[in-house]
């Protein structure tokens, strides 16, 4: 085994890991605030990819510009989903909440199948093939750009949650709904905002990976499951846990693909997932709280 192969795999893993982190941060935010496990998370990523694809195909704009379109669009979409679909079941039994998001995932996936057709597409822009060579390893430009942009988004969200008024309100809602309500926070609106931000994370991640990841209506499922793995690894509701978990899973999958067939690499992350759930259900970092921690 050549050491440069391992190095290359690690680099690739770290690069895709940034994207995993962004998707997982969105999922963990939604869970932390409204205790909803969003099974449709990957489907929003898929929609983000289609947005980038069509913006590029029809308007000729770079997918990195469509990120800017993504943010308001997906925030509004998320807010609508929360208000219309999720709110009515918030007080209901947990399995109904899960079933609702599963149904939403089915709906979105098949709507994509209906309107965008099952063709596997690829978005290719000029920079898709660029890469930097460092020593014996190659760093592909679109992956690097996606990773850097994803980390930038995560940091921006982190400061939003940590230092702004709305961030404080979101954290308050997640820690104690009644308390936040009594303190005069419009809890319903905060839920909508949090869901919107969570969905926007997935949508942005979709737009960012569009230049190098094949796109089909079924792309989302893999990311939903991966995001679960990452979130559980970091501890559900743990913001920084999701950030590190993303990189960890990215590297694990990438290294595993050297030793076993690439199509089996997910078995490794699922195995890891089961072990973590069984033996460290509070996540690798052993947090005890259930709410969103930033």
């Amino acid at each position: 085994m050549d050491i440069s192969v391992l190095l290359q795999a690690t680099i690739n893993g770290l690069l895709i890991g940034g994207v995993y982190s962004l998707v997982a941060v969105g999922l963990t935010l939604i869970f932390g605030v409204s205790r909803i496990i969003n099974f449709a998370h990957g489907e929003f990523l898929m929609l983000g990819m289609y947005l980038a694809y069509y913006v590029n195909a029809k308007l000729g704009l770079s997918p990195y510009i469509s990120v800017l379109i993504c943010i308001p669009l997906f925030m509004a979409l998320g807010a609508v989903v929360q208000t219309v679909l999720v709110n009515p079941v918030m007080k209901g039994p947990q399995d109904i909440q899960i079933l609702l998001t599963v149904a939403l995932a089915l709906f979105l996936q098949n709507a994509a199948l209906r309107f965008f057709y099952p063709t596997v597409r690829g978005l290719s822009i000029r920079s898709s093939t660029y890469s930097l060579s460092v020593g014996n390893t190659l760093i592909s430009f679109p992956r690097l750009a996606a990773s850097i942009a994803a980390i930038g988004m995560i940091l921006a969200l982190y400061s939003l949650l940590r230092y702004t008024g709305i961030g404080k309100a979101i954290r308050a809602c997640s820690e104690d709904r009644e308390g936040a309500f009594l303190a005069g926070i419009n809890v319903g609106r905060i839920f909508a905002v949090a869901f919107g931000i969570g969905i926007a994370c997935a949508g942005i991640a979709g737009a960012l990976i569009a230049p190098f990841y094949p796109l089909s209506p079924f792309t989302g499922t893999v990311f939903t499951l991966t995001a679960f793995v990452v979130v559980v690894l970091g501890g559900m509701g743990d913001f920084l846990g999701a950030l590190f978990g993303g990189f960890l899973i990215g590297v694990c999958e990438s290294l595993a693909a050297i030793f076993i067939p690439a199509s089996l690499k997910q078995v490794v992350s699922f195995g890891l997932f089961v072990l973590i759930l069984l033996f460290r259900p509070s996540g690798l970092f052993g947090r005890k709280r259930e709410w969103l921690t930033v």
Binding site: D95, I98, A112, R114, T221, L264, V267, L277, P281
Partner: protein, 333 residues
């Protein structure tokens, strides 16, 4: 019982009317298939198959209250085990069925032991069951003996007791019919036995149940193993009836979701629920599938997803408990 804090009547009671309907339907359905066209009979077989499978799911998902979204693992295990035995050793599907069911029960035992030993509940349990089923699907996709992505074709075979499943819809109908009746009888017996009450107690308040001396870990495990065993029997029927087995349609997450959805929409923790759910969803599924020619691929599942969301929001308890409440508002179920 109105106003009583105890839920002895429980949401599972179906009452005399319910039993009357069931018995009547049972008698009718022994005769009717002779009169039906093959396509209608095929539809009825599908309804019965999914009613059976959802009833099996109901034991653990409805009565024990443990949301499993990985029952495809047991279904697929049953299907693959009996099919491989049939293909390579000409073992009759009847024996393969039982062997597959034992394998699935063992898997259920292992998974249940791990999950309940470490206290996984609610969404965490659901996620672990998904993870196990997905691992099995990925392995099946990549292992040549299991047919890989192209799947396994099951040849027609007159001997080895397979003809019952394969050669005529009519005999297959009676097999799945018997299995469905069996599942109803088992679930009913369970409900009126101490174990049924223990499971209800665990579902409603696990700590409380433990405090009065019920061992939640043990009974949840029993329910999962029983459910896995029965689900696997359905897997063998599916493989022998369709004569084709492929990872995504036997181990995929969509399969697990179908079982759960039928039971939840019909009313989880009720005997009639899974049957009603399967009847409505399978038939409406077949109907909307026929719309595909007008609407294009995907329309059928889009409608399904929309119906599902609608039900979650407006009928969170499922149809049977909601109807029961309407008919008899005094009863505390």
């Amino acid at each position: 019982m109105s106003g009583s804090p105890f839920r002895l009547s429980g949401p599972g009671a179906i009452g005399y009317v319910g039993w009357g309907i069931l018995v009547l339907a049972a008698c009718l359905s022994l005769v009717v298939p002779f009169l039906l066209s093959p396509y209608v009979l095929h539809l009825i077989i599908l309804v019965l198959l999914y009613a059976y499978l959802s009833q099996c799911w109901n034991i653990v998902g409805g009565y024990a209250g443990q949301l499993s979204l990985g029952h495809a693992l047991f279904f697929g295990t049953g299907a693959y085990t009996s099919t491989l035995l049939f293909l390579h050793y000409s073992v009759t599907p009847w024996a393969g069925m039982l062997i597959g069911a034992c394998c699935a029960a063992t898997l259920g035992l292992a998974i249940g032991f791990l999950c309940f030993r470490y206290g996984l509940k609610g969404p965490y349990f659901a996620l672990v069951t998904i993870a196990f089923a997905e691992m099995a699907r990925l392995v099946a996709l990549n292992v040549t003996v299991l047919g890989g992505a192209s799947g396994l074709q099951i040849p027609l075979h007159e001997g080895a007791g397979a003809a019952v499943f394969q050669l005529s819809n009519l005999s297959a109908y009676y097999v799945i019919y018997g299995m469905t009746i069996l599942s109803v009888l088992i679930v009913n017996a369970m409900r009126h036995n101490s174990i049924g009450y223990f499971l209800l107690a665990i579902r409603e308040d696990e700590l409380g149940a433990e405090a009065v001396g019920v061992n939640p870990r043990k009974y949840k495990l029993v329910s999962l193993v029983a459910s896995a065993f029965l689900t696997a029997l359905g897997g063998t029927f599916y493989a022998q009836y369709y004569l084709f087995l492929e990872p995504n349609s036997s181990l995929g997450i969509g399969v697990s979701i179908t079982f759960a959805v039928n039971a939840i929409i019909g009313g989880r923790g009720t005997i009639l629920g899974p049957i009603l759910g399967s009847l409505l969803l399978t038939l409406s599924g077949e109907f909307t599938r026929s719309l595909v020619t007008y609407g294009g691929a995907g329309v059928h599942m889009m409608i399904f997803g929309a119906i599902l969301m609608f039900t979650c929001i407006f009928l969170p308890e499922g149809m049977v408990p909601t109807i029961a409440k309407r008919l008899n508002p005094k009863r505390t179920c």
